[in-house]
């Protein structure tokens, strides 16, 4: 009763921090529902990732073994998981709201006729959950009915699970798939390689907006600050739309939600859609030449200045601090 099945995402055997967040939320929910937290993995490298995840607190780790799950595809993964949920009698299926979690969980919910709550930020003792709506302008308390429920959790709202001394047992499961119903085919993954930290894992994020004026300026003006701070780089939608930086750097309501220790917004006005993605950061700095810019309304420290002068100065000041 009350068991929680956590879909533990990984890529080629390595899992991002967001997966440990799913495990931690799964452990909390299982505790509140009086059940167990079980992790499930699939795809290339799943066995290696399972051995690691087993150390982070779940009661059991399951590895779905099936050639059609080698590359993640929503139709096959939803089929395999739905079969597993039925077999286990789990009450809730949970994943972090990453691109993969958002792709898979609604499909799984529909397959099981289950209600789904997206990007929850809290689990109440009575089993209700809380999620933001309207770009974070409202928090809804939600009740999910029925024998099976599906949730995704917001990566910024839960702490990552911590490793323990013991490891949970790992079992292999062979799902039965209706191959005729599987029509999706993986073609390729064009990875954007970067030596920098991942946006949703970094302690410091430096984001640039339209004020940077070009992709070239992102490189020559913003990147030195990003690197000097050992930060991850983010951007506003306007900067991404203009082609200054890749899509997956977009912070906001319809991009990534981040909550680092320090968020530095450079040449970003602070539209509600951008704020939705960063306003839970611990400390916020805004550098903008317009003193009326709404970003100053959420900034702990605001500097009204021309970024092309202020950012290089900041690089030097941070350098000095380190010596």
């Amino acid at each position: 009763m009350g068991d929680v099945l956590v879909y533990a995402e990984h890529r080629g055997g390595h899992f991002p921090k967001t997966t440990l967040i799913a495990v931690s939320a799964g452990l909390e929910l299982a505790r509140k529902r009086g059940g167990q937290c079980i992790a499930v993995l699939s795809g290339d490298g799943a066995a290696a990732a399972a051995a690691e995840i087993a150390k982070y607190g779940p009661s059991k780790v399951l590895v779905l073994e099936e050639p059609r799950l080698k590359h993640y595809l929503a139709d096959a993964a939803a089929q395999a998981l739905a079969g597993l949920v039925k077999k286990l009698g789990a009450e809730t299926v949970l994943a972090t709201a990453t691109a993969l979690g958002k792709d898979l969980m609604p499909r799984l919910a529909a397959r099981m006729g289950a209600p789904m709550a997206s990007e929850i930020i809290a689990i109440n003792d009575d089993g209700t959950v809380v999620r933001p709506m309207y770009a974070g302008n409202a928090l809804a308390t939600i009740e999910l009915d029925g024998p099976v429920r599906v949730v995704t959790v917001r990566g910024t709202a839960f702490d990552a699970a911590k490793p323990s001394a013991s490891a949970a047992p790992i079992e292999t499961v062979t799902p039965e798939l209706d191959a005729a119903a599987l029509k999706m085919e993986f073609v390729n993954f064009n990875e954007i390689k970067s030596d920098r930290q991942q946006l949703n894992e970094a302690k410091i994020v430096v984001s640039g907006g339209r004020g940077l004026k070009s992709g070239e300026n992102f490189k020559t003006v913003l990147e030195p600050l990003v690197d000097e701070l050992g930060a991850a780089m983010g951007a506003s939608r306007a900067a991404v739309d203009a082609g200054f930086v890749p899509n997956d750097l977009q912070v906001g309501q319809t991009g990534k939600v981040v909550a680092p220790e320090l968020y530095v917004a450079v040449g970003i006005s602070g539209a509600i859609q951008h704020l939705a993605g960063m306003k839970d950061s611990k400390t916020i700095v805004a550098i903008n030449k317009d003193e009326e810019a709404p970003i100053f309304g959420v900034a702990d420290y605001g500097l009204v200045a021309d970024l092309f002068k202020a950012v290089p100065e900041m690089v030097e000041a941070v350098k000095k601090l380190k010596h």
Partner: protein, 249 residues
Amino acid sequence: MKILVPVKRVPDPATTIRVLPDGSGIATDNVKWVINPFDEIALEEALRIKEKQGSGEVVLISVGQTAWQEQLRTGLAMGADRAILVKADSPLDTLAIARVIAKIASDEKPELIIIGKQAIDDDSNQVGQMVAELLGWPQATFASKVELADGKCTVVREVDGGLETIAFPLPAVITTDLRLNEPRYASLPGIMKARKKPLNELAADSLGVELAPKLKIKTLKTPEKRQAGRKVASVEELVQMLHTEAKVI
């Protein structure tokens, strides 16, 4: 090719949203209503496919109330051929909305459903994926490029860490991301023509699909507002503060 495009009526993204004091919903006076921006992108993509192929039909579907006619007329003015308004009196959850859309799709038999990745008000990001599963069709979420050739569809998707390409046969469901295209505006002749285009209405409870919500919104509340801090006079002061006061660098 026939393409079905679901359309949701949402508050204009520039609207300031206020939660009602009793937590039952949001204040809707002074709200300007528009087509969900991701649905405009979906409609634009459907229109471009039709124009490129030189034939076909673009059908809009909304699950809402009478007032939603307004957004459907805007969609017709952008170039859609006809619209279906499925009227529901009580709030529906994502799965119920997906069931209604899937039911209409099984009657209309489109080859593609192009749908916004997320509604900018409720922010669920669910309906497209649910429709795909209910119909047993492939899904390509967060599309930034769509190519059609010989009954096969190839989609580039915006995922974490890069771009993924997947391929599948039609019929299928595609959900739109921001960079797929830039939607057109309705032209004046378009607006004139839209008045005469068919807009059929039917009742959700006449479709024979399960509508009772299993997800219930109990209350809404306003999140605690973050307080603005202060302005610093120089870069030097800023870095000093970050070091000694905030202790983040």
